[in-house]
Every structure is written in structure tokens, then in C-alpha cells.
């Protein structure tokens, strides 16, 4: 009995320690975003909101937020759309070389972002294409397309085929079937793919860093902010992003996925 108790105690202690480790940087980040002073390290001088004010007053940061939002939504949408179409074709039709095609579509997932970015950069340079948010978006579709494709493809079970066939028998055209029957049935994985893409694109650094110039995304802007030294402003924007992401996550969890799971 005592041994069992001891084991339980040990495991709770371990869990507590690891959760402590996992949360330590976040707690420090948020705590010192309220620092009343120039350095986000102990001692804590007092509570102040001035760094949050500084964040909202920083036009470049706000622009970067908007850029990140645009790049993330647009690139994820493209990735989801292309991924869905490809998954539909490869799951429902017999195409020559389909294993090869699947392999090709998944391949970018196994390559470091740095390599993808570098490859795109050399080609864009050779073609004389200027860097912009569009080139960042292109890169983000490259990394998110395999993800969307794999997620959607793996959820295209055979049990959906009959419903699609029924719809076709009732006179629905191919596109109609795809949009009105298949897509809604796959909604959970479509949404999962979309939001996962958004998350990845939103947080991606190296591609955005190498493929952008003046208009940059948030991680790149934070990077240059970070290069302006230890500064509670970096804590403030980091905390804000964290807060917003977690709230979005909770809303999704509570509202969207719970709903779809029930059906």
C-alpha cells in the first residue's frame, strides 16, 4: 500500500516538476511584460502597462501583425484548397503513378524549412523576382500543402463513397458533390488542416525571414525587436500573441470541435 502511495506521490511530483519546466519561460515572459523598468530580469520593480502601450504605439509591429494574419489565412486557404482537391482525386479515382504523386506531395514535410527557403530564394534570385509578402506566402503554401493533403487524405474513408454515389445518382455534378457532400462531411479535418496551417504559417520564421524584405511578418519583426536588446516590449508582444492564440484555441475547442464531434 505504501509503495503504491509512494509511486503515486513520485509520479505527481514528476508531473508537477515537468509542468513547472514547461511553464517557466511563459510565466517569466508574462510576468516581466509588466516590468516597470528597462530590463525584463529580476528584481521585479513594479507593475506597469507601459510596454503594452509601447506595443500598440509601434506601427511596425502592428503592420507585422496584419501581414502575418494575411499571409497565414491566404496561404492556408490555398494549401487547404489544393490539398483537398488532390486528396479527393487521389482517394476517389485511380490515377497512374498515384503512389508517386502521394510521395511527391508529402515530400516537403521531410525537408527542413531552411532548405525550402534557401531553394526558393536562389530560384527567385535567378529569376529576378523581388521579395515580398507574396513570396513568403508561396513558401508557406509549400510547407502547409503536404500537411493539409495528408490530413485530409487520411480522413477520406471509404464509408463516404456511398453517400457521394447517392448524391451523384440524384443528379448532382462532380463539383457539386465535392462541395456540398464531401467537403461538409470532411469539415472537421478541413478545419483542422486549415487551423493547423494557420498556426504554422503564423509562427514560421526562417522562410519569412529569408523571403521577405520591407513588409515582414510578426516573427521576423519580433526577431528584429529582439535584436534591439532585452526589452520588456518583446515580453509584451510575446504575451499578447500567446494570450490571443490561447483564446482562439479555447474558442475553437469549446465551440467548433465540440460541436462537430457530437454529430
Amino acid at each position: 500500500m505504501t509503495r503504491k502511495l509512494l509511486a503515486a506521490l513520485a509520479s505527481w511530483l514528476y508531473a508537477a516538476l515537468l509542468f513547472g519546466f514547461i511553464f517557466l519561460p511563459v510565466v517569466v515572459l508574462v510576468l516581466f511584460s509588466f516590468q516597470d523598468g528597462r530590463l525584463p530580469v529580476p528584481p521585479f520593480n513594479g507593475f506597469s502597462l507601459r510596454w503594452y502601450e509601447a506595443v500598440f504605439a509601434d506601427g511596425k509591429l502592428m503592420a507585422a501583425l496584419l501581414h502575418s494574419f494575411l499571409v497565414a489565412t491566404v496561404s492556408s486557404l490555398v494549401a487547404c484548397l489544393f490539398g483537398f482537391l488532390a486528396a479527393y482525386a487521389l482517394a476517389r479515382y485511380r490515377l497512374p503513378g498515384s503512389a508517386l504523386q502521394r510521395g511527391l506531395l508529402i515530400a516537403p514535410m521531410t525537408v527542413s524549412y531552411l532548405i525550402i527557403a534557401l531553394g526558393l530564394l536562389t530560384v527567385l534570385n535567378a529569376l529576378g523576382v523581388g521579395l515580398s509578402l507574396w513570396t513568403v506566402g508561396i513558401g508557406h503554401v509549400v510547407i502547409n500543402l503536404p500537411l493539409c493533403f495528408a490530413l485530409i487524405y487520411s480522413s477520406m474513408g471509404a464509408h463516404h463513397v456511398n453517400i457521394e454515389r447517392a448524391a451523384r445518382d440524384l443528379g448532382a455534378g462532380e463539383v457539386k458533390v465535392m462541395l456540398l457532400v464531401t467537403a461538409p462531411m470532411l469539415l472537421p479535418s478541413l478545419l483542422a488542416a486549415f487551423f493547423l496551417s494557420v498556426t504554422f504559417s503564423w509562427d514560421e520564421f526562417i522562410i519569412a525571414f529569408l523571403l521577405s524584405r520591407f513588409d515582414v511578418t510578426l516573427p521576423v519583426e519580433i526577431w528584429s525587436l529582439l535584436r534591439s536588446g532585452l526589452n520588456p516590449k518583446t515580453n509584451a508582444i510575446g504575451s499578447l500573441v500567446f494570450l490571443v492564440s490561447v483564446s482562439v484555441l479555447m474558442v475553437l475547442e469549446l465551440w467548433l470541435f465540440r460541436r462537430t464531434r457530437k454529430s
Binding site: 530590463l39 486557404l77 523581388g130 461538409p184 524584405r213 532585452l230
Partner: protein, 364 residues
Amino acid sequence: MNPALEGALARRLLSSIAVLSLGAMSAMIGTAPAAAQTTLNALVWCDHTDPALIEPFEKANNVKVNLKEYEGTGTALSIISQSRPGDWDVLVIDGVDVQQAVDKNILGELPAGTLPTADIFPEVRMEANNTRNGKTYAVTEKFGYNTVSYDKAKVDPADMRDMSKLWSDTYKGRIAVYDYYLPMIGLTGIALGKATADLKEADLPAIRSKLFDLKKNAKQVSDVVSSQTALATGEVDIVFGGGEWLTAGLVKDKPNLDWVIPDQGAVRWAQSIGVMKDSTRKELALKFVQYIVSPEGQARLATSACYWAMPANQKAGALLTETQKTALRWNEQADYLKKTQLYPIPTPELDAKMQDAWTEMLQK
């Protein structure tokens, strides 16, 4: 839930996402015409990114100045080589590298009589660097020193007057080394008694092993800002390669930070600014250069957020406060200028070897 309702909900959701992203897309396209307002693209060191410096010019000329910051001439040339001709209008570059830029046919000529040359401290006019065959390609805008910065509460200031002390066990693990090979190889050369102007390939082995020894004593090798941070937070007590650019801006919060030029001497840096040869907005670019070297621009540049340093234009002095001038050590410049040497100017081959030596040092 009722499946029909579920489907309807799903469709509404999908369509709202579609609408959302269409909106986003059009906003993205919508920003394009806005960007068509006159812009000026400048490739600069980080001190030029301070809004307090740039905004007055933007307002006065109704122009948007796009700034991209870099550290080290190699980086700047790399960025330029990745761009199309005409992408850049203004370039800020180390004075010693202007000739290299002229060789590469990057910089355009600055029309005679458009710059306040007479107001610039004679010691930093650097005609040999900024001009060629009587044509001016750039103008000095700011200068300072790569020397020794330290926290006087933690180290003996007398020690800092002797550069060799940085190699002693006393300061093991308490030094940050500035991560720019050119001035640091110059400084290490000076520590070995070699003048920066005479550095040759034959000097490299000695410098290399001296650098490796330095690395053993160093806690970290870091860029402008990380070095500043490390010194300010007490992570290190000394920044080798630092100077007023590292400490002057921090003095208000950290009065213990100080810097000195050791008896052996130190290296001097100077930034020049010029107009790109392929710029399609040469007139505006020149206006920007003129603003930066004007007394107002110079005073703002000297005390800009990323780092402080001496303005090249003497007239900026009238616009700086006494506290600012003290932090910049305005009155001691004559002495400093005498004790310091310019960056080494290596041939491309020697430059590559220097970079290799530096990378090897990082890996030690």
C-alpha cells in the same frame, strides 16, 4: 445534432471563411497602391531605424522610407547582390568599404556642392575613402571606436587601459567579444603591435592563435545588441570591441558602464552614406542624404535608439544637450582620433581568409 442543420452550419462556416480570406486577399492587393506613395529604400545600420530620426524626413517630404538593417559590409553586399538594380536608393556603409562599393559599381556620384563638407570634422572627412578621381561617392555621417567597454563597478578601470589584460585569467569568462571580424582582427593586430593598415596574410597565423586564446577567455561572441544586453544585464563585465556606441545610450540606466581606449590604441569606425547608382529616385535619395548630414539629422543620428556615436558634422554640437555631449565625450575626440586607426582594408582573398579565421575562432 440534426445532420441537415449541421451541413448548413458547415456551409455557412466554409463560406464565411471564404469571405474572410477574400477580404484578406483584397486587403493585401489593396495595400499595393498605398505602397505606390513615393518610397525610398535604404539599406542601413540599425541606428537609422529610429523613428525619431526618420519620421521628420518622411513628414517633410511626404515619403515613406523603407529601411532594411544589416550588420557588416559583407551582409550589405550580399543583400544587394540578391536584389534587382534600382531596388535600393540609399546605402549606409563603413567608410573603409566605400572604395569596394565603387569598384562594384554600386554607388552613384554625389553632385559637387550639395554636401556640407566644410562642417565635417577634418579627421573624418576621409577623402581617400569617400572620393575617387575627384568624384564624391559617399559622405561620412557618424564615427566612433571599437575598443573596450566595461562595467567599472566590476573590473579595475586601470586594467582596462592595458589591452593585454583581456587575455589574462583575471577576466576569464567575463568578456563578450563583438562579432564583426574586421574591427576585431584589427584590434587583435593592435594588441600584437601591428598597424591595421599594414595587415598582411603573413600576420594572420599570429592573429589567429591570439584570437583562439581570446575565445578561451570569452563568455560569448555577439552582435551589437546582444553585446549591449550582456553588459547591461551583468552577463559579462567587459565587451571587447565595444565603445561609446555600446555604452553611451545606456548610461542613463546603467551609470557604471564606461569605455576606454587602451594604451595600445584601438580601431576607429566611420559610417558613410551615399546614393545608389541605379536608384530611380536619385533626387529624393540625395535629399535624404542631405537630411542625415544636416545638423538636425546628425544630432538625431548621434543619439538614435540602436546606438549612440559621434556625429560627423561639427554643427550638430549646437543641437545636442550637455549631458548628451558628455555621454559622447565630445571634448575628448581630438585625443581619441590620434590614438586610433581605421579598420583594415583587406584584398578579397585576404578578406576571405580573415572570415575563415573568424569562423574557426567561433568553433573553438
